[in-house]
Amino acid sequence: MAMENPATSQIPVAGGAATLGSVAKNSESLSATRKKPLEIALFWIFALCAAVTVFTTFGIIAVLVTESAPFFREVSLARFFGEKEWAPLFNPPHYGIFSLVCGTFLVAAGAAMFSLPMGLLAAIYLSEYASPRARNIMKPVLELLAGVPTVVYGYFALLFITPLLQNVLESMTPTLQRVTGNPNLFPTIEVFNALSASIAIAIMTLPLVASLCEDSLRVVPRALREGAYALGATKMEVSLKVVVPAALSGIMASFILAVSRAVGETMIVALAAGASPKITLNPLESIQTMTGYIVQVSMGDVPHGSIGYQTIFAVGLVLFCITVMMNLASISLVKKYRHKYD
């Protein structure tokens, strides 16, 4: 450790290395323990390791900005944000990012509608109701669920959820016709559709939400729960009116993180959501997300350097900005929450 005490460093160095082996009392002058080269070298090596993460962030920003610069020289921001269609490879091309953003948020919002409330309820069960033994079994299984690769959920969405939805819709058609009084109503669900992707993403993010929310709920001091019980609250009232509000910033942080995960999710949408960017709120239609588009182009044979290829960096930049904003919001909420019960 730092021994550069100004008082001791005035003492002349008394051949540090020579006396090192000696066991005699006070054989070594205090100033002899200069920082050894190894200690200094290690400090800088570790610092460099930490710096790698900073370089990564700057690298991502630099790549996205420089590679999308040629694109933005060609396509004005007004077109990029103003146009309604996204069809960079057509003639004439359209560059309206909004339809990709719309598809992304249609899928993410659909997923959030399922995963956020369900995740929170599961978290409440685990933290407030489950016996310690049940929790010790369920929590690890939940964490196991979180480790399933996304390509598996993509497979599942395309080959299980979509056929299931088609069957359900078909069997519901007569009822729907009767209810609406329109015998020509045939609601259809396309093979690639936003809903299947949403459901798969919901299943994927559910363990994440449940696990993070449970962590937040458990941080709420026991004293608060007891205070509420002592006032004659029922278990539900304790959970919903005291524990959940007390953990709200932590819960919000995990919600935001889950939505950010849904926005950035790639394989599920690439497999199940389709490749037709459009502005719609109908989850039964095929749409395209930002990530889905990037995959589509990078797998295709669009020549490098063409404006069609540069679009992926522009889309990547937008995706990066959106997710970073959400992440930072989540991080600041977590920080706030941690301070609350220290």
Partner: protein, 297 residues
């Protein structure tokens, strides 16, 4: 056991609620120390028993934490439970509103009656019980919400939604806890911004808002500075006219200052119980004497 003065008082009949309307202002403005003697001497003989524990045994798993504890608590009195750490006094206090139910593996035997009803009977609802037996904890535990919402929490659970009515209860309770003048302009501010002493009085007000009969206090001053402690002690003397208070304390001066009767616990057993004035001057058990003279604990 010196229970002669109390055992005469075998009146376990269910008291009429109206009898609780005691002479509210009489206790105020007089110093707490002065009150003790008065209370111990006369008053307690006049009030009926409201809570009575009979042969309460309590087990954490297989470990027995309370051994056949029997204590009657009289209406409009302050009873102190004292004893060294881990003697079971807090555990016993938590038996009185069944807070121990929340602890995994905790089992209670024996009987505790509230106005003649066994609170451990199967048909008893802990929600209802805890409305009638309020509790204040060792560390102030205000909910992380506005002061107003903290106080209104209990009444809202009872289904009171009218803002004006709730407002009245909030003011009444805060006045009752001697906090109103300090916070009346900040009711919408977070309760976490209050000082420790204020937070504890807020917790007392919160308990008062549900209009309990009995108020349990688990070392309510142990986390507070002396001035805040004094305020809470004064408050307790005032509340005594309307509530029955049971307080666990580590602080024997505090027990002597505020309580009418004192019970001494050791290793899960009730060793001695009696009027505080006598307990602290002339204890009958050697162990009690050792404890209050500071020879152990």
């Amino acid at each position: 056991m010196n229970t002669s003065s109390i055992s005469n008082l075998a009146d376990k009949a269910m008291p009429e609620p109206s009898t609780r309307k005691a002479e509210a202002p009489s206790a105020r403005n007089s110093t707490p120390q002065f009150n003790v003697a008065m209370a111990a001497a006369g008053e307690q003989n006049a009030t009926p028993v409201i809570v009575e524990a009979e042969k309460v045994d309590l087990f954490y798993g297989t470990k027995q934490a309370l051994k056949s504890v029997s204590i009657p608590f009289h209406q409009n009195t302050i009873s102190a439970l004292i004893g060294p750490s881990g003697c079971g006094k807090s555990t016993f206090l938590r038996c009185l509103n069944r807070m121990n139910d929340l602890i995994e593996g905790c089992r209670t035997e024996g009987e505790v009656t509230l106005s003649g009803e066994n609170i451990y009977a199967k048909s008893v609802d802990t929600v209802m019980l805890r409305q009638r037996v309020g509790m204040v904890f060792q560390k102030p535990n205000p909910f992380p919400m506005a002061i107003w919402d903290n106080i209104a929490y209990g009444p809202r659970l009872r289904g009171i939604k009218n803002k004006a009515v709730l407002g009245e209860i909030v003011e009444e309770s805060l006045r009752g806890a001697a906090l109103w003048d300090e916070v009346k302009d900040d009711l919408k501010k977070s309760a976490l911004g209050l000082s420790g002493g204020q937070q504890q009085r807020l917790c007392i007000a919160r308990a008062l808002a549900t209009k309990p009969e009995v108020l349990l206090m688990d070392e309510p001053c142990s986390a507070l500075d002396p001035i805040s402690t004094l305020k809470i002690e004064e408050l307790m003397r005032e509340l005594r006219s309307a509530y029955t208070i049971v307080i666990v304390t580590h602080n024997m001066q505090q027990a002597a200052r505020v309580s009418d009767t004192t019970a001494f616990f050791l290793l899960g057993e009730l060793i001695e119980r009696g009027a505080s004035a006598k307990m602290f001057t002339d204890p009958s058990d050697k162990r009690t004497e050792d404890y209050i003279t500071g020879r152990f604990g």
